[in-house]
């Protein structure tokens, strides 16, 4: 499989109200990557995703997505925000949330076409939630809501999938199944997964980066405790643990 470049970040710095959130971040994402980015809360992970999406404009540096600017390439990106961004009480069912992924295709005024509906249905099947179609989104379990948001992103038929803390509300028993689904997707979509929970980055990712304001990038999966300590600013202990090799215990 050829490995084309999907995202190129060059010397990215972002500041919010004089606070530096990202500093001189450089890195590349390729088509066959399943990249896990770990780092503490407030380490700039969500901001990094928003830079790639063109929602946050960096103070310095250059973002290139699929050879163009972030704004122009937005249509190729499937974004999966944290499930906490919307109101649990919002009166909307799963089907209408997933259809939102087709907005760009349908346009401002036209209704969703049969092509849009087919794409949304396909995404529901991929995420194994076709039976939840008519349920109110806020009433589902955390794991199910997460799948709805991924299905919405997949409905837009993206080339790059960005997931923000996707396992935060998925109970551990469901995580394996969750990763199995992502593992199938990675054959044709580049995936970037961001999490503060190191155990959430499973055997399925093929690259790991550590982010805490600066990028402590590590191309392969073997990650040293030095890098983790530099990222988390505290002693961490790593234990290889069966199917989840990167489980870390913190000592304070």
């Amino acid at each position: 499989m050829s490995s084309e470049e999907v995202v190129r970040l060059e010397n990215i710095s972002v500041t919010y109200n004089d606070t530096t959130v990202l500093e001189s971040v450089n890195f590349l994402i390729h088509t066959d990557d399943f990249l896990g980015i770990i780092g503490p809360n407030g380490g700039g992970k969500t901001t990094l995703l928003k830079v790639i999406l063109g929602l946050v404009t960096p103070r310095k540096g250059k973002v290139t997505v699929l050879g163009k600017s972030a704004m122009k390439s937005r249509k190729f990106i499937g974004y999966v925000p944290q499930t906490s961004v919307y109101d649990r009480d919002f009166p909307i069912n799963v089907w209408n949330v997933v259809l939102m992924g087709r907005y760009r295709n349908a346009g401002l005024i036209k209704r969703y076409s049969s092509i849009d509906k087919d794409a949304a249905n396909k995404a529901l099947v991929t995420m194994k939630i076709a039976d939840l179609k008519n349920r109110q989104v806020g009433k589902l379990s955390g794991g199910e809501q997460q799948r709805v948001l991924i299905a919405r992103a997949l409905a837009s038929e993206p080339k790059l999938l960005l997931l923000d803390e996707p396992t935060a509300s998925v109970d551990p028993a469901m995580q394996t199944e969750f990763y199995e689904i992502l593992n199938q997707l990675k054959s044709h979509i580049a995936i970037v997964l961001v999490s503060h929970d190191i155990s959430a980055i499973s055997i399925y990712v093929n690259k790991i980066a550590c982010l805490n304001r600066q990028m402590f990038y590590h191309g392969t999966k073997e990650i040293s405790s030095d890098i983790l300590e530099a990222t988390y600013k505290c002693p961490v202990q790593m234990i290889a643990h069966g199917t989840i090799p990167h489980r870390i215990l913190k000592e304070h």
């Binding site: 974004y79 925000p81 919307y86 009166p91 909307i92 907005y103 401002l108």
Partner: protein, 270 residues
């Protein structure tokens, strides 16, 4: 029925129906996007227009239309383009509009008729011309919602994703604020500037208890809005009370009763 044989009663029924349609549709967005106090701000700001109308000797409702639209658009721009918190902007526009209204009315020579009815509504005195105007605004609102439905759904649910999905978020948000402004103008004749926020929020809040589909919620809210205006009108007629205030008290009473029953039922279950 004797009640409907009066011309003013027929006009009142039409006004109530037109008000219910506007508030049913737009109120749903106001409730799900938690914009009730934005509505309050736009409504009070429109008082400046009422005053200007009196001052210039034109129909005050046109002044209200101009001021409420101006307030909606500036609220949208100021909250999106500056760092001022939304509630500060609402408060400022709210008070500036009221202050301008008072100044204009003070400058208007002679007696200012009907002022009380703009503040607290009087469904029984809606003139034919204003009914036509309300009908036109209703048609505009219905057309906008039909055309832009999926965009509004996206921005009320999750603005950030909407932007990623290609929705023109900023433009649609301002259009939505302008729709709130138009709705307020429709409602002013019925319940008045000060009481508008209740009729803007109660029917939709009640409808939300019964469905998780935005379109059904709109239809239900129109139904509830109609029940409240007609019920309130009827009670006010029988007890000889102010119609606008009675409509609002009836809405509030039904909403609180509904929440009370809900609580009792859920306590029984657990």
């Amino acid at each position: 029925m004797e009640l409907f044989s009066y011309d003013f009663m027929r006009n009142a029924i039409l006004a109530g129906l037109l008000a219910a349609i506007a508030t049913g549709i737009v109120g749903v967005y106001v409730v799900v996007k938690k914009m009730v106090f934005i509505g309050g701000g736009i409504s009070h700001a429109s008082f400046g227009g009422i005053g200007l109308g009196y001052f210039l000797g034109i129909n005050p409702i046109f002044g209200a239309l101009f001021f409420s639209l101006a307030a909606a658009i500036s609220m949208g721009f100021i909250t999106r383009k500056t760092k001022l918190p939304e509630d500060t902007v609402i408060g400022i526009l709210w008070a500036i509009g009221m202050a301008l209204g008072i100044i204009f009315i003070g400058l208007t020579p002679g007696y200012v008729p009907d002022l009380f009815s703009y503040l607290f509504g009087n469904i029984l005195t809606v003139p034919q011309n204003d009914l036509m105007f309300m009908l036109i605004l209703d048609i505009i609102l219905v057309l906008l919602v039909i055309m832009l439905y999926k965009g509004f759904l996206s921005i009320t649910f999750d603005e950030e994703y909407a932007a990623v999905a290609g929705v023109p978020v900023e433009i649609l948000y301002i259009v939505l604020l302008c729709m709130i402004a138009l709705t307020i103008v429709v409602l002013i004749r019925v319940v008045g500037i000060i009481l508008v926020i209740a009729l803007l929020s109660v029917p939709a809040a009640l409808a939300k208890q019964f469905t998780c589909d935005l379109k059904k919620m709109m239809l239900l809210a129109i139904l509830f809005g109609a029940i409240f205006t007609f019920g309130g009108l009827w009670i006010s007629f029988i007890l000889d009370l102010a119609s606008g205030a009675t409509i609002i008290l009836l809405s509030g009473f039904v909403l609180l009763t509904n929440f009370g029953i809900d609580r009792l039922l859920s306590r029984k279950e657990s």
